[in-house]
């Protein structure tokens, strides 16, 4: 247990200090959201209707871009080999790394959501709904994305390949995240239904992600 908490603390510290780059995700999120009005026009009514979808897409892309860092730096300096060889089960170590990554790169996105909601003319309920669905949904993005990150690091290929592999897997999260936010704002469906499915998706990915990532690390690193 202490090994895992040490791993989490170390990862968060590395991510937040110089060269960590966890907060670049928030900057990217902000930039993508600012770009949207230029594409669809400054119509406030339209923006508030598209708002939840824009915020979700931005958060999805931001969390995808930061995923590259999940294993790469550790692989470069050799600490990933130590983690694979250590007595702590690799599945738990992967889960701990993903948790640390989510705390450092995922949570800031959710904290930034209310500010970005203001830019998109979202009212209080809508902003709260989007933030809540992001809180429930981004762990699923991180934990399924971790599979792609593990594959990419064993193949020494990152970037586009990672995106192509991970994005189709994140479609369910996107569907239910946006649906739950829309349901809270206007929708005919009650907020609870899509939101509980979103939570279920996060829980499933919590199980599948570490096992698949550990399997690909174990088979892929030599």
């Amino acid at each position: 247990m202490s090994a895992l908490s040490a791993l989490i603390r170390r990862d968060i510290r590395i991510a937040l200090r110089v060269g960590g780059g966890a907060l670049i995700g928030v900057l990217f999120f902000l930039t993508v959201t600012v770009l949207m009005p230029f594409a669809v026009g400054p119509d406030l009514a339209l923006l508030s209707r598209l708002g939840p979808a824009i915020l979700w897409l931005g958060a999805l892309l931001a969390s995808l871009l930061t995923l590259d860092r999940l294993f790469t730096a550790d692989h470069e300096d050799g600490s990933l080999d130590l983690i694979v060889m250590s007595r702590t089960p690799l599945e738990l170590a992967c889960a701990a790394k993903a948790l640390a990554h989510w705390l450092a790169a995922g949570l800031p996105l959710i904290v930034a959501t209310p500010v970005l909601g203001l830019l998109l003319n979202l009212d209080g309920t809508a902003t709260l709904a989007v933030a809540l669905t992001l809180l429930a949904g981004t762990p699923a993005l991180t934990f399924t994305g971790m599979i792609g990150a593990a594959l990419a690091v064993t193949l020494h290929r990152g970037g586009l390949l990672l995106a192509v592999l991970v994005l189709p897997l994140s479609i369910p999260v996107l569907i239910f995240g946006v649906a739950a936010s829309q349901a809270a704002i206007s929708g005919p469906v009650s907020f609870g239904t899509p939101f509980s499915i979103l939570c279920a998706l996060s829980l499933i990915s919590l199980v599948i992600g570490p096992f698949a990532a550990a399997a690909s690390l174990r088979h892929g690193l030599d």
């Binding site: 193949l155 390949l161 192509v164 592999l165 189709p168 479609i171 569907i175 929708g187 690909s216």
Partner: protein, 253 residues
């Protein structure tokens, strides 16, 4: 003859040399029968002659999912049983599966044009098949990203199994998304159950297409084995010329 006997690529090649002509012949005969029966099938009272697209479309759609199943079993073969031919099977199945999925999409949109009045409708089924197609392409990109086949095989196996778990979830989500966004009125409400005049040609075509897949898959596996042999021969030759070159340099010095 068990699966472990086939672990020897030479024995596999010998077996497929004997089987392939028969398989190809059976496929051709069944396809001919199926196409004749589909052409002779009566027109639908609602859809007219366009219903005949179904005889091509449905087998393709069925194979698009079946091939992923085959690849998942092959992925288990790679990761669990370490069967030497499993990754050959997985690698050569992916492009064929992608081709079937693509054909299902094309025939689906050609069928959709007269039925829905548009080539592309964000219909739940078409959308989930499109996502399946994207996943096939991603898998092929993964295979092509790495030179060492065995390294790529293990990564692709993990991705195939993750995909096998995720495909039903994606299918369910897309269904849910579609019912949320679109009223069901666009589509025929509970189309009539298939008449025997349609059922028989469809069954024959489904079997013919499955045989077509098996034939293509075995042929592609043969090619892949031979390609790997050529590759290792080339590597051996390259290292030999390198050694000889070094020796000559040593002699000159």
């Amino acid at each position: 003859m068990t699966l472990t006997d086939l672990a020897n690529p030479t024995r596999f090649l010998a077996l497929t040399t004997r089987i392939l002509p028969w398989l190809a012949g059976a496929t051709a005969i069944l396809l001919a029968i199926g196409l004749y029966q589909s052409a002779m099938a009566p027109d639908d009272y609602q859809q007219g002659a366009t219903v005949k697209i179904m005889f091509i479309h449905v087998p393709n759609a069925w194979l698009s999912m079946f091939v992923w199943g085959v690849m998942s079993i092959a992925a288990l073969g790679t990761l669990v049983w370490r069967h030497p031919l499993a990754d050959v099977a997985a690698k050569s199945a992916a492009p064929i599966g992608a081709a079937f999925t693509f054909l299902a999409l094309v025939t689906g949109s050609l069928w959709g044009r007269p039925m829905w009045g548009t080539y592309w409708e964000w219909d739940a089924r078409l959308t989930s098949v499109l996502i399946l197609f994207l996943m096939y392409l991603g898998l092929m990109a993964l295979w092509r990203a790495v030179e060492d086949p065995s390294r790529a095989a293990r990564a692709a196996a993990v991705l195939t199994l993750v995909g096998a778990i995720n495909i039903p979830i994606i299918k369910f989500s897309v269904d849910w998304w579609n019912t949320l966004h679109q009223p069901a009125s666009v589509f025929r409400a509970g189309g009539p159950t298939l008449d025997k005049a349609f059922l028989w040609p469809l069954l024959v075509m489904a079997i013919a297409f499955s045989l077509l897949f098996i034939t293509l898959h075995l042929a592609a596996m043969r090619n892949e084995i031979l390609r790997r042999r050529v590759r290792s021969l080339q590597m051996m030759q390259a290292s030999r010329t390198a050694v000889i070159g070094e020796a000559k340099e040593m002699g000159a010095a």
